[in-house]
C-alpha cells in the first residue's frame, strides 16, 4: 500500500513521466485489443491470410495502409505486430530486471569479494558487443518461439540493469535509516524488502524500461537481417519485408514508415519514463524553472 501511494505521487509530480506512461498505456491497449481490431478489419475473414486481397493495393478507405506483396492488409499486420513487439519487451524486461536486481543486491549489499567478482563479471559482459552474439544465437535457433528469443535477449541485457541498480544500493546502504534497521536486529532480507526496495523502485523502473527497449530493438535488428523467430510477425519483420520486396522503390511507404513511426513512439515513451523517473529522484535535474 505504501509503495502504491509512493508510485502515484511520483507520477503526479512529473509531467514527463505521466506523458510517457500514457503513450505506453495507449500502445499496450492497442496491443491488447489487437485480436478484436484485426477481426474488425477483416470483417469476417482473416485479413492477414495470404492472398486475402489483391496485392500492392494503395492506401484507401478499404485498406488504410494498403496491402503487401501477398495481399495482406498492412494495417492489420501492424496492429498485430505491435503486440508481438511489446510482448518481447515485457518478457525480456521482466527477466533482465529480476536477474539484475538479484545480482545488484547481492553485490551491493554484501560488498567485499562477492561484490568484486560480480562487478568485474558484469563489467566484462557489458563490453562484449551483444549484437553479434545475438545474431549467432538466433542463426542456429531457427525454430525458436518468441519466449525463447526473449530469454536469449535477456541473457545480454541484465548487466546494464544490474549496474544501474548496484550503484544505488551502494549509496543507500550507508544511509542512517539502514544502519538503524541493522542495529535493531532486522534480518538482511527484511531490510532489503522494507527499507531498500521502495527507495529503489525508480531505478528498477529505469532498468526495466532500458531492458525492454533493448529487447525490442534486438528483435527488430534480428528480423531486419532475416533471422527472427518463425511464425510470428513483429514490427521489424514488416520493415524487413518492405526492404526485401522493394516497397521502397514501389512507393509503398506505409509498409516501412508506419512500423518505424510506431516503434519510434514506443522508444520515445520508454525514454520519457526513464528520464521522468531520473528527474523525480534527482530534483536537481529539474533545474530551477522546470523545463
Amino acid at each position: 500500500m505504501r509503495i502504491l501511494t509512493a508510485v502515484l505521487r511520483t507520477i503526479r509530480n512529473s509531467r514527463r513521466l505521466a506523458t510517457g506512461l500514457v503513450i505506453l498505456g495507449l500502445l499496450i491497449l492497442i496491443a491488447l485489443l489487437s485480436p478484436l481490431i484485426v477481426k474488425a478489419i477483416g470483417g469476417g475473414q482473416d485479413p492477414i491470410e495470404l492472398a486475402a486481397y489483391d496485392k500492392w493495393q494503395v492506401p484507401g478507405p478499404d485498406h488504410l495502409l494498403g496491402t503487401d506483396q501477398f495481399g495482406r492488409d498492412v494495417f492489420a499486420m501492424v496492429v498485430k505486430a505491435l503486440a508481438v513487439s511489446l510482448q518481447i519487451g515485457a518478457i525480456a524486461g521482466v527477466i533482465s530486471t529480476v536477474v539484475g536486481v538479484i545480482v545488484a543486491f547481492v553485490a551491493g549489499y554484501k560488498g567485499g569479494w562477492i561484490d568484486n567478482v560480480l562487478s568485474t563479471f558484469t563489467g566484462i559482459l557489458l563490453v562484449i558487443p551483444t549484437f553479434p552474439l545475438l545474431i549467432a544465437l538466433s542463426a542456429y535457433a531457427k525454430n525458436v518461439s518468441l519466449f525463447q528469443v526473449g530469454v536469449m535477449i535477456s541473457i545480454f541485457s541484465w548487466p546494464f540493469a544490474a549496474k544501474t541498480i548496484r550503484s544505488q544500493v551502494l549509496s543507500l546502504r550507508t544511509r542512517p535509516y539502514v544502519d538503524l534497521a541493522r542495529v535493531s536486529k532486522a534480518r538482511d532480507l527484511e531490510i532489503i524488502t522494507t527499507e531498500l526496495l521502495p527507495n529503489l523502485l525508480p531505478f528498477i523502473g529505469v532498468g526495466f524500461a532500458s531492458s525492454a527497449l533493448g529487447a525490442i530493438f534486438g528483435l527488430v535488428g534480428l528480423e531486419i537481417i532475416g533471422l527472427g523467430p518463425g511464425g510470428v510477425i513483429d514490427l521489424g519483420q514488416i520493415i524487413f519485408n518492405a526492404i526485401g520486396t522493394g516497397a521502397l522503390t514501389l512507393g509503398a511507404w506505409p509498409m516501412f514508415v508506419v512500423p518505424i513511426a510506431l516503434l519510434t513512439l514506443l522508444f520515445a515513451a520508454l525514454n520519457m519514463v526513464n528520464i521522468g523517473l531520473e528527474e523525480v529522484y534527482n530534483p536537481r535535474l529539474r533545474g530551477v524553472a522546470g523545463e
Binding site: 568485474t120 549484437f131 535535474l285
Partner: protein
C-alpha cells in the same frame, strides 16, 4: 567498470620512521602509478574474461563449419565423392577444431595473442580471417569513427547550450526532440534517408562505399566518391548520436547551474558565453569523454544494421555474411576486435582522466 574505484592499496602507516623500502612502500608514495598499475591489471582481467566468454559462446553453438565448407566445395563440384576422413581431419586442424575444447581454447588464445592469427576464414577460404577483417576495418573505422566523433561534438555543444538556456523555447524543443529520438535505432533514420534521398529524389547512392567505376586510390575522384557514398550512412549515425549526447550533456549541465562558482563568475560581470565555456562546460565534457569510450560498443551494435542496409564493405556486413555462412573464425575475430577496442578506449580514457581532471581521484 569505470565509475567504481578498485579497492585502495593498504597505505603504509610507518612513514614517520625510517623510509620503508620495497614495492608496497613505493606504491604508497606514488598513488597515481599504483592506480595505473591496478587499472591495467583490471583491464587485462576484463580483456581475458571477455575474449574467453566470446570463444566458448561460439564454440558451444551447434553447427559444424568444416561440414559447411565441404558442402560448399561439393556444390562447386570441386569433388563429387564423399570427403575422406583424412581431408576432414586436415580441415579440422586448420580451423583449430581438433582436440577437446580446452586444447582448442589454449591453441586459439596462443595464436591470437602471439601472432594475431585467427585461423582461416570460411567466406574466402583459405584467406586468413584476420585478412578478411583487415580489409573491412578501415571502412568501419572511417564511417563509425568520424560519425561518432562528430555526433559527440555536436551533442555536447548543443546539449550544453540547451542546459544553459533552460526554459527558452529553442532549448525546450532540442530537449524534447532528444528525449523522443535518442533511442531510435540508426537504422530507422537510415531507411528514411534512403527512401527520400536515394529513391524519391535520386540524389545520393544507397549501396556500397564508392563508385565501382572509379579506381580506388589516392585521387580526388575516389575520395569524393567515398564521401558521397558515406554521406547517408554517416548522417544516420550522426543524427541519432547527436540527440543522445544532447540529452546526457544536458543532464550533467543542469545540476551544475546552481553552483556558487557560476554565480560568482556571473557576478564578476563575465560574459555569459565565457561563463558557459570556461566554467560550466569544463565540468561537463570530461565525464562525457569517458562515456564516449563506453558508447563505442553500443554504436558498433547499431552500425551493423546500417552497414547491412547500405551494403557497406565494413565489419558489420562482414559479420552478417560470416554468421550466415557459419564462419566461426571471422565472427569471433570481429567480436574480439570490438571487445578489444571498447576496453582499450575505456582504459586509455580512465588513465588520462585523472591527469585532465583534478577532481577525479581513484586512490586514497
Amino acid at each position: 567498470m569505470t565509475a567504481e574505484a578498485p579497492p585502495a592499496v593498504a597505505v603504509d602507516k610507518s612513514q614517520d620512521s625510517a623510509p620503508p623500502s620495497g614495492v608496497r612502500a613505493w606504491l604508497s608514495r606514488h598513488p597515481l602509478a599504483a592506480y595505473a598499475i591496478r587499472r591495467f591489471g583490471l583491464y587485462l582481467v576484463e580483456l581475458w574474461g571477455a575474449l574467453t566468454i566470446a570463444f566458448f559462446f561460439f564454440r558451444l553453438m551447434p553447427g559444424d563449419p568444416v561440414q559447411t565448407l565441404i558442402q560448399t566445395l561439393q556444390q562447386n563440384y570441386v569433388y563429387n565423392a564423399q570427403a575422406s576422413t583424412e581431408l576432414i581431419a586436415r580441415y579440422r586442424h586448420e580451423f583449430g577444431l581438433d582436440g577437446n575444447l580446452l586444447t582448442q581454447y589454449l591453441v586459439y588464445m596462443q595464436k591470437l595473442i602471439l601472432h594475431g592469427d585467427l585461423g582461416p576464414s570460411l567466406i574466402n577460404y583459405p584467406t586468413p580471417a584476420q585478412t578478411v577483417i583487415m580489409r573491412a576495418l578501415p571502412w568501419t573505422i572511417g564511417l563509425l569513427g568520424i560519425s561518432a566523433v562528430l555526433a559527440w561534438i555536436f551533442g555536447v555543444i548543443i546539449g550544453a547550450i540547451a542546459g544553459w538556456r533552460r526554459g527558452k523555447l529553442g532549448s525546450a524543443i532540442a530537449t524534447n526532440l532528444s528525449i523522443a529520438l535518442s533511442h531510435v535505432p540508426y537504422f530507422f533514420v537510415a531507411l528514411i534517408l534512403v527512401y527520400v534521398f536515394a529513391y524519391s529524389m535520386g540524389l545520393l547512392p544507397a549501396r556500397s562505399a564508392y563508385d565501382s567505376n572509379i579506381e580506388p586510390g589516392i585521387s580526388l575522384a575516389f575520395i569524393g566518391s567515398v564521401l558521397k557514398y558515406g554521406l547517408l550512412p554517416g548522417l544516420s549515425i550522426v543524427i541519432i548520436g547527436t540527440f543522445s549526447w544532447i540529452l546526457s550533456t544536458r543532464m550533467l549541465m543542469v545540476p551544475i547551474l546552481g553552483e556558487d562558482y557560476l554565480v560568482y563568475a556571473e557576478a564578476k560581470g563575465l560574459k555569459s558565453w565565457r561563463v558557459l565555456t570556461r566554467y560550466a562546460l569544463r565540468n561537463c565534457y570530461l565525464p562525457q569523454i569517458t562515456a564516449f569510450g563506453i558508447s563505442l560498443g553500443f554504436i558498433f551494435n547499431g552500425n551493423v544494421l546500417v552497414e547491412q542496409l547500405f551494403n557497406y564493405p565494413g565489419l558489420g556486413t562482414t559479420l552478417v555474411t560470416a554468421i550466415q555462412q557459419l564462419d566461426f573464425n571471422t565472427i569471433l575475430g570481429v567480436t574480439d576486435i570490438a571487445i578489444f577496442s571498447v576496453l582499450t578506449a575505456v582504459l586509455l580514457l580512465d588513465l588520462l582522466l585523472p591527469l585532465l581532471d583534478p577532481r577525479v581521484k581513484y586512490w586514497k
